[in-house]
């Protein structure tokens, strides 16, 4: 009989991402949920909420995408796979910036993580083929996971796409083109499909069945309960025997908590 090694319990903070199509209420609900918490997680802003004035590498890469996409709201610059990889590079930079916080035990909440990149770019690559988009989205997540550990928990906020589009248009004071609305509907559907492939990581908050108050409560409870039983994590590109990237302890033949 082969012994299956168990991962060692770690003192790190939990990394939670909140995902969903634009207009679904991610930021609004999450901020309300955080307001109700005594110990607040560190918040990593999503791309659309960032300014162009930050001096770091992540901001410079985002500026590069914005300039190359000539103002497109979805950062489309004609080379969707290359843009997917630049977005994954930015998400890795985000993680680099919060490693000290996570290592110190503080939870981090990421507004849109690698799942958004995988889903949106997969739809761009296969706009008329949902099956191919699902395969590509999971492949992009696998690529992301080989350079950056995935979140411990991903909260997918979802809703009827028409309601999300209406909400986003009201918020941004714009009218999406038919092509943009179609893209958002495809993204909404693909998010739900991707979530179903990884039920251990994903939790779905469905606004079709939950009112605002209950959705806020559920998001808060999911964020607060993510840190139970966290294990050590090594840099994926270093191989399974590398030391934990947060607590520094060796992973080789780690068996139990201590």
């Amino acid at each position: 009989m082969t012994a299956i090694p168990e991962l060692r319990r770690c003192t790190r903070g939990a990394l939670t991402s909140v995902e969903g199509v634009t207009g679904v209420g991610k930021t609004y609900l999450t901020r309300h949920a955080i307001d109700l918490m005594d110990t607040k997680p560190l918040l990593l802003e999503e791309f659309s909420a960032r300014t162009d004035t930050q001096p770091d590498l992540g901001a410079a890469l985002l500026r590069a995408l914005r300039e190359a996409s000539a103002g497109d709201p979805f950062l489309r610059g004609g080379t969707p796979l290359a843009e997917a990889l630049v977005l994954l590079a930015i998400k890795r930079h985000d993680l680099d910036c919060v490693i000290p916080e996570l290592a110190g035990g503080r939870p981090v909440l990421e507004g849109r993580g690698v799942d958004s990149t995988a889903v949106c770019q997969a739809v761009l690559l296969h706009p008329d083929d949902p099956d191919a988009a699902l395969v590509t989205a999971t492949a992009l997540l696998s690529l992301a996971a080989s350079y950056r550990s995935l979140p411990d928990r991903t909260i997918l906020v979802t809703d009827d796409p028409h309601r999300a589009i209406t909400r986003a248009q009201r918020r941004d004071r714009c009218v999406f083109t038919a092509e943009q609305a179609t893209f958002m509907r495809s993204v909404c559907a693909l998010f739900e499909q991707v979530a179903a492939t990884d039920p251990a990581r994903y939790r779905v908050v469905d606004r079709r069945t939950l009112g605002e108050h209950h959705a806020t409560q559920l998001i808060g409870s999911l964020i607060q309960n993510t840190d139970a039983g966290l294990t050590c994590v090594s840099e994926p590109w270093q191989g399974p025997e590398a030391a934990c990237m947060y607590c520094g302890r060796p992973q080789h033949r780690a068996l139990t908590s201590d």
Partner: protein
């Protein structure tokens, strides 16, 4: 994904450490091939592509000759992105009448340089393993060239030549990194002898290096029906 057709040109990348003479050889060979050849410039030379030039500017902001920013995994993904972009842009162009694409540095450069950089910042990790990991991802998402010409020379001479070109002396740490990159290139060449062709240009003048590369490309074109196309991504 990038899916060339069976009638695509032969894709030949020219690789090697800084200062070995790749760019002169690639440019000289492409010039001699005329309309039969298309040259894909090194990433750092593509100033007209907005995304590419802005990303390279971001990676160069600290002034390091190896584009190091203190975020080596970010650099790796960004450089892979730019290699993918070259292919995505090329896929949209008509290549009728083109027999060969000459690429001045391709995915192998990203694999060996970033493996050396990542492992210099994370001692204890095996650089060969990391280079293969990066190359496997490049193969999956962008494909690899049909043939890779690895130019080799005396590392000390190459380091001096590179220092003269960037107009500053290289530190011992830079020289060590270049030696490690040279070693990793040879590891990848041993891994894949059907794709790699090693050309020793140590004692050759720049013009002689161009001649060697051009002759190699010409011979490859003559043997083209027997060279398997390597660059198809698997999905």
């Amino acid at each position: 994904m990038i899916k060339p057709t069976g009638a695509d040109p032969l894709w030949v990348s020219v690789e090697g450490i800084n200062g070995v003479g790749k760019t002169s050889a690639a440019h000289g060979t492409a010039a001699l091939l005329g309309t039969r050849g298309v040259l894909l410039d090194e990433l750092t030379d593509q100033v007209n592509d907005v995304l590419l030039s802005r990303v390279i500017a971001a990676l160069s902001s600290a002034g390091d000759p190896f584009l190091r920013t203190g975020h080596p995994v970010v650099e790796t993904l960004a450089l892979l992105a730019l290699q993918v972009r070259k292919s995505e842009r090329l896929a949209g162009q008509s290549l009728a009448g083109v027999d060969v694409i000459i690429e001045d540095r391709g995915v192998d450069s990203v694999a060996v340089y970033q493996a050396a950089v990542l492992c210099s910042e994370h001692p204890g990790t095996r650089p060969e393993q990391v280079a293969r990991h990066i190359l496997a991802d490049a193969r999956r998402w962008r494909g690899v060239p049909d043939k890779t010409l690895l130019l080799t020379g005396d590392p000390e001479v190459c380091i001096q030549r590179f220092g003269a070109r960037i107009q500053r002396p290289l530190a011992a740490e830079h020289a060590h990194l270049i030696s490690e990159i040279d070693r990793l290139y040879r590891v990848l060449a041993e891994d894949d002898p059907d794709r790699y062709m090693i050309l020793d240009v140590a004692d050759l003048s720049p013009q002689e290096s161009v001649d060697v590369v051009r002759q190699s490309v010409t011979r490859l074109l003559e043997r083209r029906p027997h060279i398997p196309a390597m660059r198809r991504p698997s999905a």
